[in-house]
Symmetry: C2
Subunit: 229 residues, 2 copies
DNA sequence: AACAACAATATTGTTGACAATCCTGTAGCG
DNA sequence: CGCTACAGGATTGTCAACAATATTGTTGTT
């Protein structure tokens, strides 16, 4: 009976596995920005040695997910609203490019799957199910990057997304946003099916930037609440 | 009299400084793709401890500059032509965005400086000086990213550029490419001075992709030579 | 009670030694 | 001559102990 979730339970988790674990905790908001990541703590919870934990934390620092100060250790980095804005703009440019390339290069199967996911998302909109919509949305964007045949960009976007992972879901709790996103997807899908890369690109860019706009509105609301509370 | 080039000569270089040193060696082609980076070697040449060297190598791995295999250590990663193509496409999208933002946000001084650099580059073209053209070219692109007010994208592009740094210079040894690049710059500059972000963006994208086309041609030439030799 | 100086604890940084693995050169064999 | 098996050295992976620093708790003074 294995003690941990990791494959090599004998030798303990590797640095990469520990990094994945921390990354996940951050993405699921179990580790929140500003929270300190004490080495000993991570050691106990993952079963890895301290050495490997340090290794993992350094990787995460290189990814920009974690801040390491001398003699103060690692803490989850806090992305400012301005940084979020920049991340979104970068995403918009890169995913736009992927949409264009998907239109050019994707296989028949990938197009079919894209259509299938889109239909499932429409379903989620009707039922008002933000979680399933968010999950399908992630699949949708992932599939487009996958089908664009550009793993380099895919990797960059994934890294850019990690610190704002939860934000990608947050906006979906407003029905207005759900409808708007679904409409955007429809536009993008049509451009792809029409084999119009340029249209797909601009539509995707607008879609991502629309997400940013919703987020900015949410953010200013939160600040308003902060002032009252 | 300091022993090394690093600021804290007493405590030895930090991991970040070692990473910078290695990155530089790679950029200057003193470390070539495939070359193994033996820890002890780096230790001696930088004066850092083995621990810090390992730290630095892991960072470089996260950046995608270095490959680390278990029990075989680090080696300089070799970017395939396909990967280079992807890097260029990502650059095109991101630098295009920066050109648009530069047009919107850059200060009067930054515009003036851009013009000044462009004039100096024209000079290099006339004199047929590839090295100075390459250096000015790097300044030119850097200035545009700087003036776009988007450090996140700037960081991403810098990381994308590192493994292909030398390629950015290689094409300039053909006079044809020099003239073509200078013409592109002129187009971009005009769009910026006309306050036309969209035009600046498309011009910049075309410029970067033109660089890729030249490179592809060079690459196939090299392959041809390989077959003969 | 508020505050400063100091001691105790917790946490991180660094080093060195040892184990595990790979690479290389050599000898033996067909 | 070509090939495999095997040692020896080289290189990396891992760990535990120690040093340096930050954080917390305590005490004494005003």
């Amino acid at each position: 009976m294995p003690k941990s979730v990791y494959t090599n339970s004998q030798k303990g988790p590797s640095a990469a596995e520990i990094a994945d674990w921390i990354r996940n905790q951050i993405r699921c908001r179990r580790f929140v920005p500003g929270q300190r990541l004490v080495e000993f703590d991570v050691t106990r919870r993952t079963g890895g040695s301290r050495f490997k934990v340090r290794e993992a934390l350094q990787r995460l620092q290189a990814e920009g997910l974690v801040d390491i100060e001398e003699f103060r250790g690692a803490s989850v980095r806090n992305a400012s609203m301005d940084e979020v804005r920049q991340l979104y703009r970068a995403r918009a440019a890169l995913e736009g490019l992927c949409a264009a390339d998907f239109t050019r290069k994707a296989s028949r199967e990938q197009r079919a799957k894209l259509l299938k996911i889109a239909e499932a998302m429409e379903n989620s909109v009707d039922k008002g199910a933000p979680e399933s919509f968010g999950s399908l949305n992630a699949q949708w964007h992932g599939l487009i990057m996958d089908g664009s045949g550009n793993p380099v960009i895919q990797g960059v976007v994934q890294r850019l997304n990690t610190p704002i992972h939860h934000l990608l879901f947050e906006t979906f709790y407003r029905a207005e946003r759900l409808r708007s996103a679904a409409a955007d997807h429809k536009t993008i899908l049509e451009a792809i099916m029409d084999n119009d890369p340029a249209a797909a690109e601009t539509a995707m860019r607008q879609h991502v930037e629309a997400g940013l706009k919703f987020l900015s509105r949410l953010d200013s609301d939160v600040h308003f609440e902060d002032q009252i509370g």
